[in-house]
Symmetry: C2
Subunit: 219 residues, 2 copies
Protein backbone atom coordinates (compact mmCIF):
# COMPACT_ATOMS: atom_id res chain seq x y z
CA UNK A 1 0.00 0.00 0.00
CA UNK A 2 1.62 3.22 -1.20
CA UNK A 3 2.08 5.98 1.36
CA UNK A 4 1.67 9.45 -0.11
CA UNK A 5 2.63 12.55 1.83
CA UNK A 6 0.14 15.44 1.58
CA UNK A 7 1.51 18.83 2.68
CA UNK A 8 -1.33 20.99 3.98
CA UNK A 9 -1.01 24.72 4.73
CA UNK A 10 -4.08 25.58 6.79
CA UNK A 11 -7.79 25.29 5.99
CA UNK A 12 -9.36 27.66 3.49
CA UNK A 13 -8.46 29.00 0.06
CA UNK A 14 -7.49 32.55 1.13
CA UNK A 15 -5.17 31.75 4.06
CA UNK A 16 -4.63 27.98 3.95
CA UNK A 17 -5.01 24.89 1.79
CA UNK A 18 -7.68 25.07 -0.88
CA UNK A 19 -10.20 22.75 0.80
CA UNK A 20 -11.74 21.26 -2.36
CA UNK A 21 -8.32 20.45 -3.81
CA UNK A 22 -7.14 18.84 -0.58
CA UNK A 23 -10.26 16.69 -0.16
CA UNK A 24 -10.25 15.63 -3.82
CA UNK A 25 -6.63 14.52 -3.37
CA UNK A 26 -7.46 12.55 -0.20
CA UNK A 27 -10.42 10.85 -1.90
CA UNK A 28 -8.47 10.00 -5.05
CA UNK A 29 -5.65 8.50 -2.98
CA UNK A 30 -8.03 6.42 -0.86
CA UNK A 31 -9.98 5.15 -3.87
CA UNK A 32 -6.69 4.06 -5.45
CA UNK A 33 -5.78 2.10 -2.31
CA UNK A 34 -3.03 4.51 -1.22
CA UNK A 35 -2.59 5.86 2.31
CA UNK A 36 -2.43 9.63 2.79
CA UNK A 37 0.23 10.84 5.21
CA UNK A 38 -1.01 14.34 6.05
CA UNK A 39 1.46 16.86 7.40
CA UNK A 40 1.82 20.62 7.89
CA UNK A 41 4.29 23.02 9.46
CA UNK A 42 3.75 23.93 13.13
CA UNK A 43 3.70 27.73 12.66
CA UNK A 44 1.48 30.79 12.91
CA UNK A 45 -0.57 32.05 9.98
CA UNK A 46 -2.63 35.14 9.23
CA UNK A 47 -6.41 34.88 8.97
CA UNK A 48 -8.67 35.98 6.12
CA UNK A 49 -12.43 36.30 6.57
CA UNK A 50 -13.66 34.03 3.77
CA UNK A 51 -17.07 35.70 3.71
CA UNK A 52 -15.65 39.14 2.87
CA UNK A 53 -12.23 38.17 1.50
CA UNK A 54 -10.67 40.72 3.88
CA UNK A 55 -7.73 40.01 6.23
CA UNK A 56 -8.64 39.90 9.94
CA UNK A 57 -6.21 42.38 11.51
CA UNK A 58 -4.28 40.98 14.47
CA UNK A 59 -5.77 37.49 14.18
CA UNK A 60 -3.55 34.41 14.04
CA UNK A 61 -4.12 30.67 13.85
CA UNK A 62 -1.78 27.68 13.81
CA UNK A 63 -1.20 26.07 10.40
CA UNK A 64 -0.89 22.52 11.82
CA UNK A 65 -4.05 22.87 13.93
CA UNK A 66 -6.08 24.34 11.05
CA UNK A 67 -4.77 21.72 8.61
CA UNK A 68 -5.93 19.07 11.12
CA UNK A 69 -9.50 20.10 10.23
CA UNK A 70 -9.02 18.75 6.70
CA UNK A 71 -7.16 15.67 8.00
CA UNK A 72 -9.76 14.94 10.73
CA UNK A 73 -6.93 15.08 13.29
CA UNK A 74 -4.80 12.48 11.50
CA UNK A 75 -1.81 14.72 10.77
CA UNK A 76 1.85 15.21 11.75
CA UNK A 77 4.24 18.11 12.08
CA UNK A 78 6.19 18.05 8.80
CA UNK A 79 9.43 18.36 10.81
CA UNK A 80 8.84 14.78 12.00
CA UNK A 81 8.34 13.27 8.53
CA UNK A 82 11.33 11.59 6.92
CA UNK A 83 11.58 10.85 3.22
CA UNK A 84 11.61 7.13 4.10
CA UNK A 85 8.12 7.52 5.57
CA UNK A 86 6.56 8.19 2.16
CA UNK A 87 6.61 6.80 -1.38
CA UNK A 88 5.47 10.03 -3.03
CA UNK A 89 4.50 13.59 -2.11
CA UNK A 90 1.70 15.93 -3.21
CA UNK A 91 0.88 19.55 -2.44
CA UNK A 92 -2.61 21.00 -2.86
CA UNK A 93 -2.86 24.73 -3.54
CA UNK A 94 -4.68 27.61 -1.91
CA UNK A 95 -3.04 30.80 -0.69
CA UNK A 96 -1.60 28.85 2.26
CA UNK A 97 0.86 27.27 -0.17
CA UNK A 98 2.02 30.78 -1.14
CA UNK A 99 1.68 32.50 2.27
CA UNK A 100 2.58 29.80 4.82
CA UNK A 101 4.61 27.07 3.07
CA UNK A 102 6.50 29.88 1.34
CA UNK A 103 5.95 33.63 0.99
CA UNK A 104 5.59 33.79 -2.79
CA UNK A 105 2.27 35.67 -2.36
CA UNK A 106 4.12 38.50 -0.62
CA UNK A 107 7.62 38.48 -2.12
CA UNK A 108 7.19 36.88 -5.53
CA UNK A 109 10.38 35.44 -7.00
CA UNK A 110 12.39 36.58 -3.95
CA UNK A 111 10.34 34.29 -1.73
CA UNK A 112 11.65 31.98 0.95
CA UNK A 113 10.33 28.44 1.40
CA UNK A 114 9.60 27.05 4.87
CA UNK A 115 12.80 25.09 5.72
CA UNK A 116 11.07 21.80 6.53
CA UNK A 117 8.97 21.99 3.35
CA UNK A 118 12.08 22.75 1.26
CA UNK A 119 13.93 19.91 3.03
CA UNK A 120 11.27 17.29 2.29
CA UNK A 121 10.78 18.42 -1.33
CA UNK A 122 14.56 18.18 -1.88
CA UNK A 123 14.75 14.75 -0.24
CA UNK A 124 11.86 13.41 -2.33
CA UNK A 125 13.43 14.66 -5.57
CA UNK A 126 16.87 13.30 -4.57
CA UNK A 127 15.32 9.91 -3.75
CA UNK A 128 13.68 9.85 -7.21
CA UNK A 129 10.25 9.56 -5.61
CA UNK A 130 7.37 11.19 -7.50
CA UNK A 131 6.21 14.66 -6.54
CA UNK A 132 2.99 16.46 -7.50
CA UNK A 133 1.76 19.99 -6.92
CA UNK A 134 -1.47 21.67 -8.00
CA UNK A 135 -2.81 25.22 -8.31
CA UNK A 136 -0.25 27.73 -6.98
CA UNK A 137 1.87 25.10 -5.13
CA UNK A 138 4.14 24.59 -8.20
CA UNK A 139 5.54 28.10 -7.50
CA UNK A 140 7.05 26.69 -4.30
CA UNK A 141 8.52 23.74 -6.20
CA UNK A 142 9.91 26.19 -8.76
CA UNK A 143 11.73 28.11 -6.04
CA UNK A 144 13.27 25.01 -4.43
CA UNK A 145 14.36 23.31 -7.66
CA UNK A 146 15.33 26.62 -9.27
CA UNK A 147 17.63 27.47 -6.34
CA UNK A 148 19.23 24.03 -6.83
CA UNK A 149 19.75 24.78 -10.54
CA UNK A 150 17.77 21.65 -11.38
CA UNK A 151 16.22 21.94 -14.85
CA UNK A 152 12.53 21.01 -14.69
CA UNK A 153 9.12 21.58 -16.33
CA UNK A 154 5.88 22.49 -14.60
CA UNK A 155 2.60 24.35 -15.03
CA UNK A 156 0.67 26.92 -13.08
CA UNK A 157 -1.99 27.01 -15.80
CA UNK A 158 -2.07 29.93 -18.21
CA UNK A 159 -1.68 33.06 -16.04
CA UNK A 160 1.11 35.01 -17.76
CA UNK A 161 2.39 36.89 -14.73
CA UNK A 162 2.74 33.75 -12.61
CA UNK A 163 4.22 31.84 -15.55
CA UNK A 164 6.79 34.62 -15.92
CA UNK A 165 7.60 34.38 -12.20
CA UNK A 166 8.24 30.62 -12.22
CA UNK A 167 10.32 31.05 -15.37
CA UNK A 168 12.42 33.65 -13.53
CA UNK A 169 12.89 31.24 -10.63
CA UNK A 170 14.25 28.56 -12.97
CA UNK A 171 11.33 26.51 -14.30
CA UNK A 172 10.38 25.81 -17.87
CA UNK A 173 6.72 26.75 -17.83
CA UNK A 174 4.25 24.69 -19.85
CA UNK A 175 0.78 26.19 -20.36
CA UNK A 176 -1.91 23.67 -19.45
CA UNK A 177 -5.74 23.64 -19.55
CA UNK A 178 -7.64 23.13 -16.31
CA UNK A 179 -8.69 19.49 -16.73
CA UNK A 180 -5.19 18.35 -17.74
CA UNK A 181 -1.75 18.01 -16.15
CA UNK A 182 1.92 18.31 -17.06
CA UNK A 183 4.49 15.57 -16.48
CA UNK A 184 8.22 16.09 -16.13
CA UNK A 185 9.21 12.46 -16.56
CA UNK A 186 12.89 12.94 -15.69
CA UNK A 187 12.19 14.59 -12.35
CA UNK A 188 9.00 12.60 -11.70
CA UNK A 189 7.22 15.93 -11.26
CA UNK A 190 3.48 16.27 -12.01
CA UNK A 191 1.56 19.56 -11.91
CA UNK A 192 -2.02 20.65 -12.68
CA UNK A 193 -3.68 24.11 -12.66
CA UNK A 194 -6.78 23.25 -10.55
CA UNK A 195 -8.23 26.49 -9.10
CA UNK A 196 -5.60 28.62 -10.84
CA UNK A 197 -8.03 28.15 -13.75
CA UNK A 198 -11.03 26.16 -12.55
CA UNK A 199 -14.44 27.79 -12.75
CA UNK A 200 -16.07 24.88 -10.95
CA UNK A 201 -15.13 22.13 -8.50
CA UNK A 202 -15.52 19.41 -11.15
CA UNK A 203 -13.02 21.16 -13.44
CA UNK A 204 -10.50 21.16 -10.60
CA UNK A 205 -11.35 17.55 -9.72
CA UNK A 206 -10.77 16.24 -13.26
CA UNK A 207 -7.20 17.55 -13.35
CA UNK A 208 -6.43 16.54 -9.77
CA UNK A 209 -7.73 12.99 -10.21
CA UNK A 210 -5.51 12.57 -13.29
CA UNK A 211 -2.59 14.02 -11.35
CA UNK A 212 -3.03 11.57 -8.47
CA UNK A 213 -3.32 8.63 -10.89
CA UNK A 214 -0.12 9.65 -12.67
CA UNK A 215 1.64 10.17 -9.33
CA UNK A 216 0.75 6.67 -8.11
CA UNK A 217 1.78 5.09 -11.43
CA UNK A 218 5.25 6.61 -11.03
CA UNK A 219 5.93 4.98 -7.66
CA UNK B 1 -30.31 23.45 -13.84
CA UNK B 2 -31.39 22.25 -10.41
CA UNK B 3 -30.52 24.48 -7.45
CA UNK B 4 -29.72 22.52 -4.32
CA UNK B 5 -29.40 24.21 -0.94
CA UNK B 6 -26.44 23.02 1.17
CA UNK B 7 -26.65 23.96 4.86
CA UNK B 8 -23.15 24.28 6.29
CA UNK B 9 -22.40 24.60 10.01
CA UNK B 10 -18.77 25.74 10.21
CA UNK B 11 -15.58 24.15 8.90
CA UNK B 12 -14.19 21.06 10.63
CA UNK B 13 -15.62 17.78 11.93
CA UNK B 14 -15.42 18.60 15.66
CA UNK B 15 -17.02 22.06 15.69
CA UNK B 16 -18.43 22.57 12.18
CA UNK B 17 -19.35 20.80 8.97
CA UNK B 18 -17.48 17.58 8.25
CA UNK B 19 -15.25 18.91 5.49
CA UNK B 20 -14.96 15.70 3.45
CA UNK B 21 -18.73 15.21 3.45
CA UNK B 22 -19.39 18.81 2.43
CA UNK B 23 -16.86 18.75 -0.43
CA UNK B 24 -18.05 15.37 -1.69
CA UNK B 25 -21.60 16.79 -1.79
CA UNK B 26 -20.45 19.90 -3.71
CA UNK B 27 -18.50 17.79 -6.22
CA UNK B 28 -21.36 15.32 -6.74
CA UNK B 29 -23.81 18.18 -7.32
CA UNK B 30 -21.52 19.92 -9.80
CA UNK B 31 -20.75 16.74 -11.72
CA UNK B 32 -24.50 16.12 -12.03
CA UNK B 33 -24.99 19.61 -13.47
CA UNK B 34 -26.73 20.99 -10.37
CA UNK B 35 -25.93 24.32 -8.71
CA UNK B 36 -25.07 24.32 -5.01
CA UNK B 37 -26.66 27.14 -3.00
CA UNK B 38 -24.46 27.19 0.11
CA UNK B 39 -25.85 28.75 3.28
CA UNK B 40 -25.18 28.82 7.02
CA UNK B 41 -26.53 30.60 10.08
CA UNK B 42 -24.86 33.88 11.06
CA UNK B 43 -24.06 32.95 14.69
CA UNK B 44 -21.19 32.27 17.08
CA UNK B 45 -19.75 28.79 17.55
CA UNK B 46 -17.29 27.20 19.95
CA UNK B 47 -13.86 26.10 18.71
CA UNK B 48 -12.23 22.67 18.99
CA UNK B 49 -8.50 22.20 18.37
CA UNK B 50 -8.61 19.50 15.66
CA UNK B 51 -5.03 18.43 16.40
CA UNK B 52 -5.77 17.51 20.02
CA UNK B 53 -9.56 17.12 19.89
CA UNK B 54 -9.82 19.44 22.90
CA UNK B 55 -12.13 22.48 23.14
CA UNK B 56 -10.36 25.85 23.03
CA UNK B 57 -11.66 27.62 26.14
CA UNK B 58 -13.01 31.11 25.50
CA UNK B 59 -12.51 30.94 21.72
CA UNK B 60 -15.35 31.72 19.34
CA UNK B 61 -15.73 31.89 15.58
CA UNK B 62 -18.64 32.78 13.29
CA UNK B 63 -20.43 29.85 11.65
CA UNK B 64 -21.18 31.73 8.42
CA UNK B 65 -17.59 32.98 8.07
CA UNK B 66 -16.09 29.54 8.76
CA UNK B 67 -18.55 27.84 6.41
CA UNK B 68 -17.44 30.32 3.74
CA UNK B 69 -14.07 28.50 3.75
CA UNK B 70 -15.76 25.39 2.34
CA UNK B 71 -17.87 27.47 -0.06
CA UNK B 72 -14.92 29.61 -1.26
CA UNK B 73 -16.88 32.70 -0.22
CA UNK B 74 -19.95 31.82 -2.30
CA UNK B 75 -22.42 31.51 0.59
CA UNK B 76 -25.47 33.25 2.06
CA UNK B 77 -26.95 33.76 5.50
CA UNK B 78 -29.64 31.06 5.73
CA UNK B 79 -32.08 33.71 6.99
CA UNK B 80 -32.05 35.19 3.48
CA UNK B 81 -32.83 31.92 1.67
CA UNK B 82 -36.45 31.28 0.71
CA UNK B 83 -37.82 27.86 -0.18
CA UNK B 84 -38.49 29.19 -3.71
CA UNK B 85 -34.74 29.75 -4.13
CA UNK B 86 -34.00 26.02 -4.11
CA UNK B 87 -35.28 22.79 -5.69
CA UNK B 88 -33.89 20.52 -2.98
CA UNK B 89 -31.92 20.71 0.27
CA UNK B 90 -29.02 18.69 1.72
CA UNK B 91 -27.22 18.78 5.07
CA UNK B 92 -23.72 17.37 5.52
CA UNK B 93 -22.78 16.17 9.02
CA UNK B 94 -19.99 16.97 11.43
CA UNK B 95 -20.47 18.11 15.01
CA UNK B 96 -21.50 21.54 13.71
CA UNK B 97 -24.82 19.97 12.65
CA UNK B 98 -25.33 18.85 16.26
CA UNK B 99 -23.73 21.83 18.06
CA UNK B 100 -24.55 24.84 15.86
CA UNK B 101 -27.54 23.98 13.64
CA UNK B 102 -29.10 22.41 16.72
CA UNK B 103 -27.80 21.46 20.18
CA UNK B 104 -28.40 17.70 19.99
CA UNK B 105 -24.74 17.08 20.97
CA UNK B 106 -25.35 18.84 24.29
CA UNK B 107 -29.02 18.21 25.09
CA UNK B 108 -29.89 15.03 23.18
CA UNK B 109 -33.60 14.55 22.53
CA UNK B 110 -34.43 17.82 24.36
CA UNK B 111 -32.45 19.77 21.76
CA UNK B 112 -33.54 22.96 20.04
CA UNK B 113 -33.02 23.54 16.32
CA UNK B 114 -31.76 26.91 15.02
CA UNK B 115 -34.99 28.72 14.04
CA UNK B 116 -33.91 29.51 10.46
CA UNK B 117 -32.74 25.94 9.88
CA UNK B 118 -36.00 24.55 11.26
CA UNK B 119 -37.95 27.06 9.15
CA UNK B 120 -36.27 26.06 5.88
CA UNK B 121 -36.48 22.31 6.61
CA UNK B 122 -40.23 22.68 7.31
CA UNK B 123 -40.78 24.76 4.16
CA UNK B 124 -38.90 22.24 1.98
CA UNK B 125 -40.92 19.34 3.37
CA UNK B 126 -44.20 21.27 3.03
CA UNK B 127 -43.33 22.14 -0.58
CA UNK B 128 -42.72 18.42 -1.29
CA UNK B 129 -39.16 19.21 -2.36
CA UNK B 130 -36.56 16.50 -1.67
CA UNK B 131 -34.42 16.72 1.47
CA UNK B 132 -31.22 14.80 2.28
CA UNK B 133 -29.10 14.60 5.42
CA UNK B 134 -25.96 12.60 6.12
CA UNK B 135 -23.94 11.54 9.16
CA UNK B 136 -25.44 13.10 12.35
CA UNK B 137 -27.53 15.71 10.48
CA UNK B 138 -30.57 13.36 10.36
CA UNK B 139 -30.89 13.90 14.16
CA UNK B 140 -31.81 17.51 13.41
CA UNK B 141 -34.39 16.40 10.81
CA UNK B 142 -35.76 13.94 13.38
CA UNK B 143 -36.32 16.75 15.88
CA UNK B 144 -38.07 19.05 13.39
CA UNK B 145 -40.33 16.41 11.82
CA UNK B 146 -40.88 14.66 15.17
CA UNK B 147 -42.08 17.90 16.77
CA UNK B 148 -44.48 18.26 13.84
CA UNK B 149 -45.78 14.68 14.44
CA UNK B 150 -44.89 13.84 10.84
CA UNK B 151 -44.26 10.10 10.49
CA UNK B 152 -40.96 9.50 8.66
CA UNK B 153 -38.06 7.06 8.21
CA UNK B 154 -34.36 7.85 8.37
CA UNK B 155 -30.96 6.42 9.30
CA UNK B 156 -28.05 7.54 11.43
CA UNK B 157 -26.22 4.27 10.62
CA UNK B 158 -26.10 1.56 13.26
CA UNK B 159 -25.18 3.32 16.52
CA UNK B 160 -27.78 2.07 19.00
CA UNK B 161 -27.75 5.05 21.34
CA UNK B 162 -28.28 7.59 18.56
CA UNK B 163 -30.86 5.33 16.90
CA UNK B 164 -32.73 5.23 20.21
CA UNK B 165 -32.57 9.02 20.44
CA UNK B 166 -34.06 9.64 16.98
CA UNK B 167 -36.72 7.04 17.71
CA UNK B 168 -37.60 8.98 20.88
CA UNK B 169 -37.86 12.19 18.87
CA UNK B 170 -40.37 10.59 16.50
CA UNK B 171 -38.43 8.89 13.67
CA UNK B 172 -38.66 5.32 12.52
CA UNK B 173 -34.98 4.40 12.47
CA UNK B 174 -33.66 2.13 9.72
CA UNK B 175 -30.19 0.64 10.25
CA UNK B 176 -28.03 1.21 7.17
CA UNK B 177 -24.47 0.22 6.15
CA UNK B 178 -21.97 2.97 5.38
CA UNK B 179 -21.94 2.76 1.58
CA UNK B 180 -25.76 2.79 1.32
CA UNK B 181 -28.65 5.17 2.00
CA UNK B 182 -32.26 5.10 3.16
CA UNK B 183 -35.14 6.61 1.21
CA UNK B 184 -38.44 7.75 2.71
CA UNK B 185 -40.34 8.04 -0.56
CA UNK B 186 -43.43 9.66 0.91
CA UNK B 187 -41.54 12.52 2.54
CA UNK B 188 -38.83 12.66 -0.15
CA UNK B 189 -36.28 12.24 2.64
CA UNK B 190 -32.90 10.60 1.93
CA UNK B 191 -30.30 9.82 4.61
CA UNK B 192 -26.88 8.10 4.69
CA UNK B 193 -24.52 7.29 7.61
CA UNK B 194 -21.26 8.71 6.10
CA UNK B 195 -18.78 9.34 8.96
CA UNK B 196 -21.20 8.00 11.58
CA UNK B 197 -19.77 4.69 10.30
CA UNK B 198 -17.10 5.41 7.69
CA UNK B 199 -13.57 4.21 8.36
CA UNK B 200 -12.28 5.95 5.24
CA UNK B 201 -13.17 8.87 3.00
CA UNK B 202 -14.13 6.58 0.12
CA UNK B 203 -16.65 4.73 2.28
CA UNK B 204 -18.27 8.06 3.13
CA UNK B 205 -18.11 9.18 -0.51
CA UNK B 206 -19.86 6.08 -1.85
CA UNK B 207 -22.92 6.64 0.33
CA UNK B 208 -22.96 10.40 -0.22
CA UNK B 209 -22.67 10.13 -4.00
CA UNK B 210 -25.65 7.73 -4.04
CA UNK B 211 -27.55 10.11 -1.77
CA UNK B 212 -26.97 13.10 -4.06
CA UNK B 213 -27.99 11.08 -7.12
CA UNK B 214 -31.22 9.97 -5.41
CA UNK B 215 -31.90 13.54 -4.26
CA UNK B 216 -31.56 14.95 -7.77
CA UNK B 217 -33.75 12.20 -9.25
CA UNK B 218 -36.55 13.20 -6.86
CA UNK B 219 -36.69 16.83 -8.02
Amino acid sequence: MAKVGVILSGCGVYDGSEIHEAVIILLALDRAGATAVCMAPDMEQGVVNHLTGEPVEGAARNVLEESARIARGNISDIAKIKVDDIDALILPGGFGAAKNLCDFAFKGTDCDVHPEVARLVREVVAAKKPLAAVCIAPALISKVLGDDKLAHRLTIGTDEETAQAVTSMGSTHVACPVREFVVDQENKLITSPAYMLAGSISEAADGIEKTVRALLEMI
